[in-house]
């Protein structure tokens, strides 16, 4: 029998405050933000000039020139230039998936330390030339005779000047992610009021965490911002009630507003993982260990499942493998893509029909204690620069578990575009 691999330690994290789209970070590229975030992590843990085993990060909205984004950021950072790096992309699951990849290599003894991260900007977005123009240009480029060139140029139309703008929409359904979430919200009868309540709590929890200094060793100010720009400490049910629905608006009973949905944001995050020995040799703390992780995917195109419901499927697989129940956790970090997504996921776990028919379980997973959910705020308040969210959550949860003492357990659940989900367990 194979020996049980060791589990990777989470030493700490760093991120820049998240900014609203086209605002404070409008001039910053993904590479700028990732480099600044890595340098902040380097400064925090004394890694100047040092080589770590691997740096793994990614961006969801990525320019073609950024094919080697993470390696380029490493070369521009204070890490040793001999630190290898590679990019990953799993939509909103990118940051957590990057950490799982680093943790697995540490578990197998292939590396002793690694950095996982993510960055995304919706401001410095990769506009592409119009698809028709692109085809004309490719034909023009490959034409060898004047006649062929002229023939290619005849395909030019003024309308082709309009660029292709990346949209937060599913290529196969043409629906915005929010519109997909609205379908799920309706299916699970998630009300406007409970969504707004979750939103207010997210803002209040994040504001309180900032106020008591919880983020002092997790966040480094960048370009004049020292807190997440989307955070509204004075958010209230009354204010949120005034907002008009923006998703699923074909339905007069639509519930999803700009308040209870995460806005487009810019930012980056990074997490330092290591073997216990590597951390001990350097006198660095071990906040928690990444115990296990699981991904899942659902057929939201033809299969009748909701786009963002994959974590509901991933969690029971992870629990079964670890011999745990859904109630065996001290903290739950369920990524708030939309308030309704969190609520629908929890409702699904409580639903005997869903758990039996879709998950193949004898009994529902049951309810979770709401007072343990996203206790230091989540994406509704902080914002959600797609690939940066995983790193934000891992570092936050690892610190919470460390503060709570040894043997504490936390569950991370992140839904992602393409009907995917990444979930993981951390333990102090």
């Amino acid at each position: 029998m194979a020996t049980t691999p060791r589990t990777a330690a989470i030493v700490g994290g760093n991120r820049i405050p998240f900014a609203r789209s086209n605002s404070r970070y409008a001039q910053a590229s993904n590479q700028d933000m990732l480099t600044a975030t890595l340098d902040g992590l380097v400064a925090r843990f004394g890694l100047q000039g040092q080589q770590v085993g691997e740096v793994v990060a990614g961006a969801v909205l990525k320019h073609a020139r950024d094919f080697n984004l993470t390696r380029e950021a490493v070369l521009g950072s204070r890490l040793s230039a001999s630190t290898p790096a590679y990019d990953v992309q799993q939509a909103c699951g990118t940051g957590l998936e990057a950490a799982v990849l680093v943790a697995n290599k540490i578990a197998l003894g292939q590396i002793e330390s690694g950095i996982a991260g993510g960055t995304d900007t919706t401001s410095d977005a990769p506009l592409a030339v119009n698809e028709d123009l692109r085809r004309v240009l490719i034909r023009l480029n490959s034409a060898t005779t004047l006649g062929d060139r002229l023939k290619a140029l005849r395909g030019l139309r003024p309308g082709q000047l309009a660029p292709e703008i990346p949209r937060n929409a599913e290529p196969r359904t043409g629906l915005a992610m929010g519109d997909h979430a609205a379908i799920t919200a309706k299916e699970w009868e998630i009300g406007r009021e409970e969504q707004d309540e979750l939103t207010v709590r997210s803002h209040q929890n994040l504001a309180a965490a900032y106020d008591r200094g919880f983020f002092d060793d997790l966040v480094t100010p960048y370009l004049g911002l020292s807190r997440d720009q989307n955070l509204r400490p004075d958010s209230s049910m009354e204010k949120l009630a005034k907002l008009a629905p923006v998703f699923g608006t074909g339905d007069p009973a639509a519930t999803m507003t700009a308040g209870n949905s995460t806005p487009l944001t810019d930012g980056a995050s990074a997490v330092l993982l290591a073997s216990d020995e590597w951390a001990a040799e350097r006198g660095l703390p071990v906040l928690a260990h990444l115990v296990d992780a699981q991904t899942a995917a659902v057929d939201y195109v033809h299969g009748g499942e909701g786009l963002l419901m994959a974590p509901a499927y991933a969690v029971p697989v992870l629990l079964a493998r670890q011999g745990l129940t859904l109630q065996d956790f001290d903290f739950y970090e369920i990524h708030e893509a939309f308030a309704s997504t969190v609520l629908a996921t929890m409702k699904a776990w409580e639903d005997p029909g869903f758990c039996k028919e879709r998950l193949g379980l004898d009994a529902p997973l049951g309810a979770i204690d709401r007072s343990k959910l996203n206790v230091n705020g989540s994406s509704l308040a902080a914002g959600h620069p797609f690939a940066a969210t995983g790193g934000r959550i891992i570092a936050t949860l690892a610190k919470m578990l460390h503060e709570a003492g040894p043997g504490r357990r936390g569950l991370i659940s992140i839904c992602a575009a393409g009907g995917q989900g990444v979930v993981a367990i951390l333990e102090s």
Binding site: D32, T35, D39, G76, L223, G224
Partner: protein, 284 residues
């Protein structure tokens, strides 16, 4: 000694026009006057544009060369004053030394002061140093010395010998290749305010005796420094000598060699190998 405190950065096109009109009939000793600005806070959008042109990452601290952009208009104001002994047109920037005492936060209020000193004898004329000092909260954080050569000019009696040579140890061929486009001068002019016509177009450069437009030396310096991002000490001296002009467009290489915790660098023409810039970067 008098210090003129300006409320805002002076207009560079106006100063350059004035310099051309008042070029004749200059002479005498260097004035001891200083030009200053107080409480200058940089515009983040301008820093971002500068960083993009020079290839610095967008960070919370200013690029090491950026304060030069703030100080340069004051230096030009000093040099176009009637009391300044040398005519600005024809002055050639031959050496630039920057000392960063500590990284400067992008939001800090900065006090700038410039002065001229060291009128010196040179084998082909005379040199003068334009010095700049930047302080924050009463403490100096950055200083620089730009040495200009006036060909055919005569330094006063008893002037010291010019100090223009920057020596570096042998460097291999550079692996970093820059294709410097024809509009590199216009791009740097737009973000630095240095609209000297010799950098802007072939035609305007010809009017000043250059066969083509030439790149700004301070752009070459900035870009060389940006290429070493992440590998530099926080407090440092960057001392460069500007050798042959970099005509636009050109393909050049950057060679770098580590010297302790500092670097020697050279920017050379990619085919001919002629040196445009040699530099020494050392911890302070």
């Amino acid at each position: 000694m008098a210090t003129t405190v300006l409320e805002a950065a002076p207009s560079m096109p106006a100063l350059l026009a004035r310099a051309a009109l008042t070029a004749r009939g200059r002479g005498g000793a260097l004035p001891e006057d200083r030009v200053a600005r107080r409480g200058v806070v940089v515009d983040p959008a301008e820093v971002a544009a500068y960083a993009r042109v020079c290839r610095f990452p967008l960070a919370d601290t200013l690029p090491a060369t950026y304060p030069h952009v703030l100080a340069f208009p004051l230096q030009v104001a000093l040099m176009t004053d009637r009391a300044f002994p040398l005519a600005l047109p024809g002055l050639v920037h031959v050496r630039n030394r920057i000392e960063v005492l500590r990284p400067i936060g992008a939001g800090e209020a900065l006090d700038l002061e410039v002065r001229a000193e060291r009128f010196a004898r040179h084998r082909s004329g005379a040199t003068v140093d334009l010095c700049a000092s930047v302080s924050a909260g009463g403490a100096e954080v950055w200083r620089a010395r730009s040495t200009y050569l006036a060909r055919g000019a005569t330094a006063p009696e008893g002037a010291p010998e010019a100090d223009v040579d920057v020596e570096i140890a042998d460097l291999g061929p550079g692996t970093i290749t820059w294709r410097v486009p024809a509009d590199a001068g216009r791009r740097y002019a737009a973000v630095s305010g240095d609209v000297n016509p010799i950098h802007l177009s072939g035609l305007s450069a010809k009017a000043f005796g250059f066969k083509r437009a030439i790149a700004h030396g301070m752009w070459v310096k900035a870009r060389a420094l940006a290429a070493l991002t992440g590998r530099l000490p926080e407090a440092l001296t960057v001392d460069v000598g500007f050798r042959r002009p970099l005509f636009l467009p050109s393909t050049v290489t950057l060679a770098s060699g580590q010297r302790g915790s500092g670097w020697d660098v050279a920017v050379r023409n990619a085919t001919a190998g002629t040196e445009h810039l040699v530099g020494r970067i050392r911890p302070l």
